[in-house]
Amino acid sequence: MNRYPVWKYVILVVALLLGVVYTLPNFFGEAPAVQVSSAKATIKVDTSTLQKVEDALKTAGTTPQSVVLEGTSIRARFDNTEQQLKAKDAIQKALIPDATDPQFVVALNLVSRSPAWLSALHASPMYLGLDLRGGVHFMLQVDMQAALTQRLESLTGDLRSTMREKDIRHGGISRNGQNIEIRVRDAQQQEAAKRLITDQFADLQTREVSNGTELSLVVSIKPESARKVQEQALKQNITTLHNRINELGVAEPVIQQQGLDRIVVQLPGVQDTAKAKDILGRTATLEVRMVDESTEARAAEQAGGLVPFGTERYMERDGRPLIVKKQVVLTGDNLTDAQPGFDSQTQEPVVNLTLDAKGARIFKDVTRESVGKRMAIILFEKGKGEVVTAPVIRAEIGGGRVQISGRMTTSEATDTALLLRAGSLAAPMEIIEERTIGPSLGAENIAKGFNSVIWGFVVIVAFMAIYYAMFGLFSGVALGVNLLLLVAILSMLQATLTLPGMAAMALALGMAIDSNVLINERVREELRNGASPQAAIHAGYDRAWATIFDSNITTLIAGVALLAFGSGPVRGFAVVHCIGILTSMFSAVLFSRGLVNLWYGGQKKLKSVSIGTVWRPEAGTAVKAD
């Protein structure tokens, strides 16, 4: 009765083997490495890059343990950090001839020392969370209201010019909160404006308002379009963050959307947090507007008094004021790239801008109408605008390629380009959560978590072996298998291990032994009641199973709740907790039964089992009342 069919043993052995293989990579530790990845979407890391890296390493005289192309990056592994640093310089020199326009990110990293055959099986070590390896974690909130306001501003401008084109007269267009108000004289105008908006502005909806004699049309963005604007804003911000972080040279940055309006950024191993914050915290948006060159504006510029209606005063970078129209010609959305360079004829430093199709069209129209006038490129950082540059338009510019030139040094051109690139955030962001963990603290946390698990494990196994003898030993082995499977599954899923995760691991082991205690107590009880050893084992496992199942389900409910509603550290805890419950059901019931069956199942005339003392009360006392 206590025998497993062969297939059950096969399952156990396969599970055990998989467990060993996928747990193994965690034991090899990490080696210093240099990682090369692409800094731009247009550039791919491929075998030719690999060749270049290998050549560079050879000429530099470094001897890498291995150089491999993995997915979209190349990793070169070294014996020590000295070689690693030397190699990084060499690769950087070979791959990035122009430091102002890096095409690759060359970063220091740590990679697993595990042998190639394990990597070939996709067995890699668990991914350590920031609290274990050190680094920076940010949560950024995207200001969606600002994204919508910006969109409305530019739509207001579009409406104005379209109505002028179509010759629809109106009594003024202005933005009022999240609405645009168009004042009209009569119902006919109102109707015409309404028709125009329905025909040409798919994103807008209108509402007619009559306030006594005054008629107007209130225009707002349709909810679904507003959602689209927000989605795009978030997406663009993520892209921009990617580009900015590439400048930092982080090996494995994590940039993820969280919820509807948040972005999580994790930079493992980054120590210069000030710089990271500085680069991320540059919550800048870019706008191109026309400079107001009327005499009133000039006067206001000089005297510093009231500015004319429809204009605003901004400072140039050298501190001179500039009066700029409120209407936005272009935003950072339309700017795809900004690079420093040199003019092909005059050889003076310039900044080259590239616009997208829509931007190019608008730019062409604007420049045609305003040759000889100045336009201002304004960078808004944390709500404050600053004029980056205000060049004079020399000719109509088509094709979306714009060159800004004049009285710039090379470094000024580089700075301006960087500022313009950085400006292509669709909406401002704010850091709402930040965590920095130093590297030494990370290492300490690993040691603490590891010690907690190991000591708890050792004491429990020792106790079980003493209290339940052979059966206790089986339980201990099952508990070990549980730990093995848990680590293997976490490694397979490439789940992020954090300190709370390690705590969950310890707790999972503490709770998992519950199942074995239940079983062992049940077997003892059956023996006490006079069952034969084989029957006691059978009944003990069978009767305990229902209880084990019930109790694990309730624990699992709590785990799932934590997974669903928890964030950050709690989620790390919950993942391990839930997986730990599942593996414990497998190992405590199936695996320990397998061991028991193997040991005792074959013996037909089993006289006794080693399960510690089976104490029997004297006959006649009432433990058993039936």
């Binding site: 010690n451 907690s452 229902a546 709690v570 510690g612």
Partner: protein
């Protein structure tokens, strides 16, 4: 080895009234402290900045306090963390000042005083995140309570579900009461521990209920009180041993896990101790007051056999 040599069923239920009174008083005290002192919520919930810095020599807290105080923050907390060389600085959330500026200002001021101070970690949480965490925490608690009740109601009977959840919520309140009384820091990790303990100590009630059900089926002559006494007596050794094993793990975390896991392990310890107490004395007693009887559990159609039991098909 056998630690539990029990000859007769222990008449737990005879003392149910006294024990329930004890539970009620502890519970009332916990609620009282929760309201009078409140929980000492961590930065994660309240919003603000937390900095851990370390010195090469034991730090002079007064001096650190003075330095940070000159920066014009109100309500700054400075305390040792783990060892005398590590200092924890807590700054309240300030409107209009970004976290980056806050922590950097403090660090540069400390550096000016003593150049070998190093930043070990910083944590900044905006006020809006804190509010959400409180909300999510309550949602998680509600989910656990409803989920467990539903499961127990389906698997056993509503009276069991109600008594198990009352018993275990009483544990949760008592854990919170401890945190309020000692003003221990209540962090996200502690919340996770509380919820994990809730799921775990329901286990205990489940084991006893399982036994009660089995006893109803087996011992037709016993009355409800005897059945409950027998169920608790026959599972008490298992209760103590499993909780002991889990507690070994938790103690290991308490000793080796360092400051970060300290309150997490503390919450688990209290939860485990009261978990034993409440499952044994409270849950079964409430079920008894609610008037469970044989007919509640033994349905005319015998479908209680677990479907995964390989012998269930072999009933003759």
């Amino acid at each position: 080895m056998e630690l539990f040599k029990i000859r007769k069923d222990i008449p737990f239920m005879r003392h149910a009234l006294v024990l329930n009174a004890v539970s009620f008083i502890t519970f009332a005290l916990a609620v009282f402290f929760l309201f009078s002192r409140g929980l000492h919520l961590s930065v994660e919930f309240t919003g603000g900045t937390l900095m851990e810095v370390s010195y090469s020599q034991p730090a002079d807290l007064q001096k650190v306090r003075g330095t940070v105080g000159t920066l014009g923050f109100s309500e700054v907390q400075v305390q040792n963390f783990g060892s005398a060389r590590e200092v924890l600085i807590r700054l309240p959330a300030q409107k209009g000042v970004s976290s980056a500026q806050q922590s950097e200002k403090v660090l540069s001021a400390l550096k000016a005083n003593d150049p070998d101070v190093t930043l070990r970690r910083t944590e900044f949480v905006g006020p809006q995140v804190g509010d959400e965490l409180v909300e999510d925490g309550l949602k998680a608690l509600a989910f656990v309570v409803i989920g467990i009740m539903l499961y127990l109601a389906i698997r056993f009977e509503w009276k069991f579900a109600v008594s198990a959840i009352i018993a275990n919520l009483h544990d949760v309140i008592i854990i919170l009461g401890f945190f309020a009384f000692f003003q221990w820091e209540f962090s996200l990790a502690v919340l996770a521990a509380v919820l994990a303990v809730l799921g775990y100590s329901v286990n205990e009630s489940v084991v006893i209920f399982d036994r009660i059900r089995e006893n109803f089926r087996r011992y037709r002559k016993m009355n409800t009180v005897e059945i409950i006494d027998n169920a608790i007596t026959s599972t008490i050794s298992r209760t103590i041993i499993t909780h002991g094993s889990t507690q070994i793990m938790v103690l290991s975390m308490l000793f080796f896990g360092g400051e970060t896991l300290h309150y997490f392990a503390m919450a688990l310890t209290i939860g485990i101790c009261f978990g034993i107490y409440s499952s044994v004395f409270v849950a079964a007693a409430i079920a008894m007051w609610l008037g469970i009887q044989r007919e509640d559990l033994i349905k005319p159609i015998k479908k209680d056999n677990d479907p995964s039991d390989e012998n269930s098909g072999a009933v003759v």
